[in-house]
Homo-oligomer: 195 residues x 2
Amino acid sequence: MTVYSQINKNISRYVPFEKEELEIFNSLLEHKKIVKKTTLLRAGEQCSFEAFLIKGSARKYYIDGSGAEVILQLAVEDAWLSDISFSMYEDSPSNVFIETLEDCEFFVFSPESKESLFKKAPRFERAYRILMERHLAVTQNRLFETIAKTATDKYVAFLEQYPEYANRFAQHYIASYLGISPEFLSKIRNKLARL
Amino acid sequence: MTVYSQINKNISRYVPFEKEELEIFNSLLEHKKIVKKTTLLRAGEQCSFEAFLIKGSARKYYIDGSGAEVILQLAVEDAWLSDISFSMYEDSPSNVFIETLEDCEFFVFSPESKESLFKKAPRFERAYRILMERHLAVTQNRLFETIAKTATDKYVAFLEQYPEYANRFAQHYIASYLGISPEFLSKIRNKLARL
DNA sequence: CGAAAATTTGACATGACTCAACTGGAGTGG
DNA sequence: CCACTCCAGTTGAGTCATGTCAAATTTTCG
């Protein structure tokens, strides 16, 4: 039981790695502790990170030019957080922010160490490909629900899918994640409670 | 100039491949011609495909239990279409359909030949990882716009991003893609035209 | 040409937002 | 430990954006 066991179990989920491979992996990780309510930078510079949450919780969100904010991800232990965004490829001014909500422990890859990992142990490309596929599948599903479902149904589906998130995250963050106003979510909850 | 040049150029975009690698790649592709208005199967069976459109256009859409339909992708030449979906991993009954809209030419990977590709030429894992990352970035951006923008703004942004799609795809498909009703899109267009 | 599908248009219904006021904790400093 | 502040959540009134339905019109295509 080392500090690496969580992340090693996670990365090995779809691709079984040799001990030597995992040692390379671990040697490239940077361990970070960050107190709650800290915004992990995103000040324009190319700072593409790939983070794995060991402990605590965080949110990832967009802000566009007109100040609109949408939470793209609510994360707890064992989640991957990366700042992949459209603007990485195009050049729109949209921005991804990551902010800790509770005190957190992370593992972080810098872009260089990630490339270095792929060079030294190319099979990690596969693990990351599968990770991306899953992430994409979840995002597509969420896009679908956002479009097709009513606010109440979205909230009910959210509760089913992430039962423990309801107590863990502030209500207005959940509202932003679901794409509804905090006031309206409050009314939905009131209505559901009275049934 | 062979029939493979389009797809080879595309797959080499982020990872430069050797001639031998591309030959392996090409040998595993299945070339298909499909007339318009054909639904590529998705009848429950595990038929995870990865397709590349050479010619024509197609749409990918979800239908959930209650019959709601949302277009996840409108595709033209040079686009990748895959049936990655939440239900691949979980076991919800949601379904992805792919339907040709014009007469199409495709290259298709079966799941086996894709695995075989990765075994014979592992560097393709990298190309697919990057492909997935891009796809994810686009989907996240679209999720953001769906939540944060008004219907009119979404349509205007759509026109800017895909100017040629407006004539190429039926209006009600564009409406479904944007998550608005076809009638309302018609009214938006009317309003924009009068400005 | 004729049938079927797509689009338009208008009347109406409603889901969801905004704004503002109020309530209730949680944290802070004296 | 109290008083104060601050933020999250609630509630209600009014409004707006968007959806629904149905009919009229136009386009597509066999």
